[in-house]
């Protein structure tokens, strides 16, 4: 497990990351969301040791992380590229060797991954000759070399077409099944909701929410929607509730005192037909908007 504890980074007077703490559990995909400038990239660079830490620490398996630990991590920086004038195969083998793989093993592994991402016939092309999507695929391959102990990916899905997103997700799932913790940042909330097991929301350098998607949707004040046979205007007079929306026979209420929803339901059945009474869970985008507001 990768643990981020009270991590802090200042640039001059500006505190880019302010005592951020969260965990990236083994075998789970943790989505890292937040507006531009919220501090996601800064946090990830500190986790990877390419940026100094002003306060706090990063723990790997419960002890402070070392350079050798990070060497086994797969990392994909933001706004990335590869050497434009070197063949794809050569530089992926080079990067794998820098991470400590033997040349022959690195070559075999790279060829296997190129095959899988449909780049086998482009192996000898210079990177600059590839389309942006294919360059992105090469980047992904670079990050999973050799077999990563953890994956830290900054915007891994940006610029990928839906098919490539799927094969990327499959690849990541393969690693999480092996117990590898994965942290990735993204702006595509629908994708995050679909793909990730846990979520960390960052706003203005602080961690404002963290948990599984279900947990996050359960937190906050419970809301219920009530649809009755007649006019629902009477709910305004009920105690312990706030009416968020009222439209003829439909009302959206927020529970302020625990148990108040039960009284509303009892009152509604007493007054006549109840067509619908349901807990409303906010969409991820709503949680995100509220958390980062």
């Amino acid at each position: 497990m990768l643990e981020i504890r009270e991590l802090t980074r200042r640039f001059g007077d500006h505190t880019a990351v302010d005592r951020v703490s969260f965990e990236v559990p083994d075998g789970l995909m943790t989505g890292f969301v937040g507006a531009n400038g919220a501090g996601k990239t800064t946090t990830m660079r500190m986790v990877m040791g390419v940026l100094g830490i002003d306060g706090g620490e990063v723990l790997w398996h419960g002890r402070p992380i070392t350079r050798l630990d990070r060497r086994a991590f797969g990392y994909m920086p933001e706004e990335r590229g590869l050497y434009p004038k070197q063949p794809v195969l050569d530089q992926l083998v080079y990067l794998a060797q820098l991470k400590g793989m033997a040349r022959a093993a690195a070559r075999a592994r790279v060829l296997e991954l190129l095959e899988r991402f449909g780049l086998a016939d482009r192996a000898r092309d210079h990177v600059e000759k590839l389309s942006l999507g294919n360059q992105q695929r090469a980047q992904i391959i670079a990050s999973v070399l050799p077999t990563p102990a953890a994956l830290v990916l900054d915007e891994p899905f940006s610029g990928l077409d839906p098919v490539a997103v799927d094969s990327m997700v499959d690849l990541l799932r393969e690693h999480t099944r092996e117990g590898v913790p994965v942290l990735f940042s993204s702006h595509q909330l629908d994708l995050v909701e679909r793909v990730c097991d846990r979520l960390v929301v960052l706003a203005r350098g602080r961690c404002v929410a963290a948990g599984t998607v279900t947990e996050l949707r359960e937190t906050g004040v419970p809301r219920f929607r009530l649809v009755v046979g007649g006019d629902a205007g009477w709910v305004r007079d009920q105690r312990g509730l706030a009416v968020l929306d009222l439209d003829g026979s439909t009302a959206l209420v927020e529970v302020r005192e625990p148990g108040a929803e039960q009284h509303v339901l009892a009152e509604a059945t007493r007054r006549g037909d109840v067509h619908e009474f349901v807990r409303v869970r906010p969409a991820l985008s709503e949680i995100y908007r509220e958390a980062t507001a």
Partner: protein, 393 residues
């Protein structure tokens, strides 16, 4: 993971990548081949110029045939690169016609109190010089005979031979010329390879591949690999130029200088190695301070100034200034080899200068590594030297 190697060898991987990616680069290959071709061409031209014989056709009217024959016979002894052929002409008008039709290069005829050599323009220097010597010999010998004596008697005791305290002029000229070549080669290599090194640092920084590398290996390995790779390439290229130059020289009339030049050439390589490593580190820093290729112009200005100082210092310094500069790094890298070429250097002087240069190189490596490491991972705009020096990592 047990299959992973120790990162201690990482710099070697970087060095190899630098070497392979440059050697397979067409611009580099074409540049080197072009330079060698130019070198060979220049030396070949010099050799040809050197060896070729002037062929001149001397026209003579009947009254000058005897004298012209004397010139034709004696010309090779006066000038070993001159061959003269004689053509007999009937009279003055025939001679003028032959000159205008370029059938003869010059026309010899006697006048009152001497001889005249008429030609179209003043291009027949070698023929004129030979004619002067021969005519004088023949006439003086005739005069001496009519006075009842001989040339030998008249000329006895009049010979002046030369003796030099400090080498001869040709040797000094060769030393000066080769010294200029040394300075120029150093300047060219340091500038070309330095620029290339700086742009490859920017390329890595701009593409953020440096972040992937930084997460895998210590950045000083990356710096060491890049500096060593480029130094090896520069040295290799220089070696090719020097060998081609020296071998070429042995085909010219300067061949006697080749053994004499080999010693200084080896010293030059040693000074080049130490000087280039120091400058390469500074070039890497210049690259790491920039965020985009466009910034390199600004971040490398102090360095290009330094290179110009080295170039002009190397070319123009002499006397006491040259002696002092030959110990001051990094200028000593070009000035000392020049002094060694000129001769008159004590055995300890090059060693001291090389030691100082090596110490300077170590200092730049140390300072450069710190600046490079700190500036490299800062993104967004140019990084100032002060920022880089004091930045937290």
């Amino acid at each position: 993971m047990s299959t992973l190697h120790n990162p201690r060898r990482a710099w070697l991987l970087v060095t190899r990548r630098e070497l392979v990616s440059r050697i397979t680069d067409r611009t580099f290959l074409v540049g080197t081949v072009l330079m060698v071709a130019m070198l060979v061409g220049f030396i070949g031209f010099t050799a040809w110029q050197d060896e070729r014989t002037d062929r001149a056709v001397l026209g003579a009217t009947p009254d000058a045939v005897e004298m012209a024959r004397a010139i034709t016979d004696a010309a090779p002894q006066v000038d070993d690169k001159l061959a003269v052929r004689m053509v007999e002409l009937d009279d003055e008008s025939a001679a003028r016609a032959a000159l205008e039709d370029d059938e003869v290069d010059a026309w010899l005829h006697p006048v009152d109190g001497g001889w005249v050599l008429t030609s179209e323009s003043s291009e027949q220097d070698a023929l004129t010089a030979a004619a002067r010597v021969v005519v004088r010999q023949v006439v003086v010998a005739g005069n001496a005979a009519s006075a009842g004596t001989t040339i030998e008697t008249l000329e006895a005791g009049s010979a002046v031979t030369t003796d030099f305290l400090r080498g001869d002029a040709e040797r000094a000229a060769v030393a000066e010329a080769v010294g200029f070549v040394f300075v120029f080669l150093f300047y060219l290599a340091a500038l070309v390879f330095g620029m290339q090194l700086a742009s490859s640092v920017i390329e890595e920084k701009q593409s953020r591949i440096v972040e992937i590398i930084a997460a895998a290996i210590p950045l000083r390995h990356l710096l060491a690999g890049k500096v060593l790779g480029n130094t090896a390439l520069a040295l290799l290229q220089l070696l090719v130029y020097l060998v081609v130059g020296l071998v070429g020289l042995s085909f010219t009339s300067y061949r006697s200088y080749v053994p004499e030049l080999s010693g200084p050439a080896v010293w030059f390589l040693a000074f080049f190695l130490a000087g280039f490593i120091a400058l390469a580190c500074l070039w890497a820093v210049a690259g790491s301070l920039a965020s985009r290729t466009e910034d390199l112009q600004a971040t490398s200005t102090p360095l290009t100034m330094l290179m110009l100082v080295m170039f002009f210092g190397g070319v123009s310094l002499d006397g006491r200034g040259q002696v002092v500069a030959s110990f001051v790094p990094p200028v000593s890298a070009v000035v000392m080899p020049k002094r060694i070429l000129a001769g008159g250097v004590e055995w300890w002087e090059p060693l001291l200068a090389l030691g100082l240069l090596a110490a300077f190189a170590l200092a730049t490596v140390w300072i450069g590594e710190r600046l490079y490491r700190r500036a490299l991972l800062q993104t967004g705009g140019r990084v100032s030297l002060r920022q880089a020096w004091s930045a937290a990592e």
